[in-house]
Amino acid sequence: MTRSVRVVGGGMLALCGLVALGWLSRLPYTTQRDSGALVRLAWRTRGERVRECRHRTPEELAKLPPHMREDDVCEGRVLPYRLVVKLDDTLEADAMVRASGAREDRPIYVYHEFPLAPGTHRVSIDFERQGAPGEVENEERAEHEREETGRAERARRAEPGRLQLDTTLVLSDREIALVTYNADERRLVIREK
């Protein structure tokens, strides 16, 4: 290979590599749909805390070290919610939303995204606390505890057992409508930019 071929060839190859580098460094790509809008559901609620207690059997008690032999075992958890989402009267989601944390005793986080075509859409959301029968008793007990820790403050911040939203949205291209919980108004609201 003569020197000139090497210089030209080597130079060309280096430039091609460079162009490829520059090109791949900023190559456009469509991440979600090309033209699309989105309804995003995102809120956090502390939910309703319940304590569930049961009596230990004599056998269970016998297995425990003497200083740990308490009659009742109690576990606190946050009641789940049922989330039903309808977009333009089509059922898009019907799911139980459970509290976070391994023991379901942390706050509840809702985060869902529903892509939509730009335009007018009817959005209806139902978010309802689910209480299992038999828990009422325990709830009363939790209620009693609550009274001990500042009833007025709690009552003011307590979240409703059911949140509903039924509205019509007009979304432009690539617009995101955020459905979130407004703690002051204690209801679901739509937030746009």
Binding site: R6, P28, Y29, T31, R191
Partner: protein, 529 residues
Amino acid sequence: MTSRSPTRRVLTHLDAWMNRLYGWRWNPLYQSGTLVVALLAVLLVTGIYLLLFYRLGLPYASVVRITDQVWVGRWIRGLHRFASDAAVVAAAIHALRLLIQKRSWGPRTLAWVAGLILLFLIFVCGWTGYVMVWDIQGEVLAREGARLLDAIPIFSEPISRTFVGERPIPGAFFFLNLFVHVALPIGLGVLLWIHVSRVARPALLPPRGLMWGAIGLLFLISVVWPIGMSPPADLFRTPGRAEFDWFYAFWLPVVKAVPVWAAWAGGGAVSLALLLTPIWSRPRATARPAPSFVDAQLCTGCEQCYQDCPYEAISMIARPGRAGAAPESDLAAKSEFVAHVDPSLCVSCGICAGSCAPMGVGPPGRTGRDQLSGARAFAAEWNGKAPAVVIAGCTRSAGAAHGRPMFDGVPVLPVNCAGNLHTSVIEYLLRSGAGGVLVVSCPPRDCWNREGPKWLEQRMHHDREAELQERVDRRRVRLVHVAEGQPELVASALAQFRSEIEALERAAAEAAIDVMHECEPPVTAEEVP
């Protein structure tokens, strides 16, 4: 013809073409590891400048401001970006080469694993760097990263909530991101040190011309094709079509399309396969080359192998039993120290075999003594008719790579690595009647054992210990560096060397007749085209 994996054949061809274009000294494929180090240095310098102008409270606007500095900021930002892209490419080539060359197991396991972590940290630096800009790409990367991290049940609050738009993004997020981006390079430095901790005299930077050439090219593209600004991140708009840096965002289309568990499972499987490479890529136990051993009877304690070993596998230890030996005993007369090979560090490169004048060290079957008996058998095949030239070729270079017993009519003595070759073998071949010995090694930067050609050259021409004896006529020995894929260069070197040897023989024959030269002098080496 020895069998080669298809990947190895592709690499051989690529290397050969790069050598043709740039010469082996500047072949960027050979220098991929050192280029990464050079690029990391560029990132450090340009990064410090960018940091001066970056504002945590105004991420996007401050990057716009840097980009608007037409004379400095814009190209520095470009250089920072393109150097990080090139670093990923170079690191990938470096890793792939080592994998194809099967230098990915045994004592190299530490380097392999540390290298993978290095590469991963470079990616994390890149991702956080893009999040710093807080344009659409930054937002998409942040969201996707958050989605993946939220699958790990250790965060009290899902990270994804940061980007839903319920409230402004907290400053702590940008702070943490910047902290990771700036702190990781320190970790990179430590890891690089670990990465090369098992190699002696690591070559950390490429030859200057190549390094500045590469940086110059990146500078050129930063100026000629500067990077602009994508639209800013917007929590209330879907990203739509946006520009991405595919060297860092290559995984996005796949990961976005699958459920989070599948992304973790896929990523986990790939990572595991890469991390376990030292296990799955190693040869079967029976096919693994054995580590070196020292024959303490022969070792004179000269320390040469200890200095030459490219993997620091040799130490000098007190000669066993000598301390209590009677003063007049054989043992007491021997050196105080002997070489000792740590088998867990030895890659069986055999370079120590070439280092040891008394032939006391080397992998089994490949010590200086073994090489000499191999050379004897090789010479015996000439049947008394010594060839004008013989080739002693590394089995990985073009010298003996193709496994043929003859190259252009010249007998070939295969050597495991040119650095193994004991100089007394060269002398023996000449004494057995060969007119000249052409030694063919790999290009020094591509020696699989790192330092073979370097040490051999010093032993042949610069009196490095275990040197080629002074009595050997240097005109009859030649060392050339030729990559596996360029046998044509061996052919031309051979033709040249052969004609020089023929000229020598002619001159010797004429001198033997002892006639007066009144006509033209014999052709000299320089005149041979």
